[in-house]
């Protein structure tokens, strides 16, 4: 690994969803750690978003992986962290835009889980296809700040835990093939709330691009990496601060998760009257 992601003695949490990417990641990390004596202490960290018929089933896969790979597993739920399951969020706001909630919550949840495990580093199973999708989405949304950092293999804020994506150059196809030939036990169902998500469009577009030009994915990642944000633009961006409510890092006084939660809480009485 050229990027020198790990050093001996690191405690590393693998963000595990039970899906193919994180299952392959957990397996590969275990194999490499043992074969080349990386000296890492590995943990599985799962987030239970509270999606009945989806995450409950995929967490069963993670629990099997825990036995198969002999790694400690920590599961943290949205319900215990935020008081809301995704089922409850969707019941309130509908299927549109619910992925925003889920994404914002998950990011924080992973950090909080990692803190409670006392790890130095979180690795996630994002593959090359995912990164290329994200580059496209950030361009289409005009999100300069994220465009600048979404292709980095490793990100570390001042007081956040280091995060990295070891599979950033691994095609989704390679991961699926690997899982197939290794007969790995993974869960493969699309999230029941995501079909309308913005990412789905980027994904379909990317697959069509790849069909026309096989190198499209790696080309897009390369473009993303080559993107330089001008200093004047950077200066205009908000500095990182900590949320006044929960203390999590934020680009505003109140972090996105707290803003979203406040909106949900405000809507709650209405929902109760509706019952």
């Amino acid at each position: 690994m050229d990027a020198q992601l790990f050093k001996a003695g690191d405690r590393v949490a693998i963000g595990a969803s039970g899906g193919k990417d994180s299952t392959v990641l957990a397996y590969v990390m275990k194999v490499l750690n043992e074969r080349y004596q990386y000296g890492l202490e590995l943990f599985l960290l799962s987030i239970d978003e509270g999606i009945t018929g989806y995450r409950d089933d995929s967490l069963e896969t993670v629990k099997r992986n825990k036995e198969q790979y002999q790694m400690p597993l920590k599961i943290l739920s949205y319900e215990e962290l935020y008081g809301w399951t995704m089922d409850a969020v969707v019941a309130q706001i509908g299927k549109k835009n619910n992925c925003t909630f889920c994404g914002v919550f998950r990011r924080q949840a992973l950090d909080r889980g990692a803190m409670s495990l006392g790890v130095d580093h979180i690795v996630t199973g994002h593959n090359a296809d995912d990164i290329a999708e994200t580059v496209l989405m950030n361009i289409m949304r005009g999100d300069i700040a994220r465009l600048g950092r979404c292709t980095a293999i490793c990100t570390q804020g001042e007081d956040t835990i280091k995060r990295s994506k070891p599979f950033k150059y691994a095609y989704e196809k390679e991961i699926v093939m690997y899982a197939y030939f290794k007969k790995l036990d993974y869960f493969s169902t699309e999230c029941i709330y995501s079909p309308d998500a913005y990412r789905g469009h980027a994904r379909a577009f990317l697959k069509d691009l790849e069909a026309a030009r096989p190198s499209a994915i790696i080309d897009i990642i390369h473009s993303g990496e080559a993107f330089e944000v001008r200093e004047e633009v950077k200066a205009g961006q908000k500095a990182q601060q900590t949320c006044v409510r929960c203390g999590y890092m934020s680009s505003n006084a109140v972090c996105k998760a707290c803003v979203l939660l406040e909106g949900l809480e405000r809507g709650r009485p209405k929902a109760e009257i509706g019952d």
């Binding site: 199973g125 093939m177 493969s188 699309e190 995501s194 994904r203």
Partner: protein
């Protein structure tokens, strides 16, 4: 008239695709050895002679055959035009079909064809 010769092939679905095929992962199929050369043409009606069977059955034929005979729901998640939807991997006897001529690969007795969806399960 004798029945046209058939081949036996094994088909397997993975990565969630089995859900579109009655949640059955493995199928053993008997398909014709030869198919009409222009598989898109509709057979002529009435007394016209049956089309000459001259082309070996290939994977493009298999995809259409699966769609017409076994696919139970949401065909758009499996096929796109004459081929599989982008993002579905096809293995011919454990080899990527891209190395075997993709849809033009001529099926042989006992072939194992695997279709795996790469859709997100994360």
């Amino acid at each position: 008239m004798s029945t046209p010769p058939t081949l036996t092939i094994n088909v397997e679905f993975g990565g969630g695709l089995e859900l579109l095929f009655a949640n059955q992962r493995k199928y053993q199929l008997s398909i014709p050895v030869l198919i009409p050369p222009d598989t898109t043409a509709t057979p002529p009606s009435g007394s016209a002679p049956p089309p000459i069977l001259s082309k070996p059955a290939d994977i493009t034929f298999l995809i259409r055959y699966l769609k017409e005979n076994h696919l139970k729901e949401r065909p758009e998640l499996f096929v796109e035009g004459e081929t599989v939807r982008p993002g579905i991997l096809v293995l011919v006897n454990d080899t990527d079909w891209e190395l075997e001529g993709e849809g033009d690969y001529a099926l042989k007795e006992g072939d194992e064809i695997v279709f795996i969806s790469t859709l997100h399960g994360g």
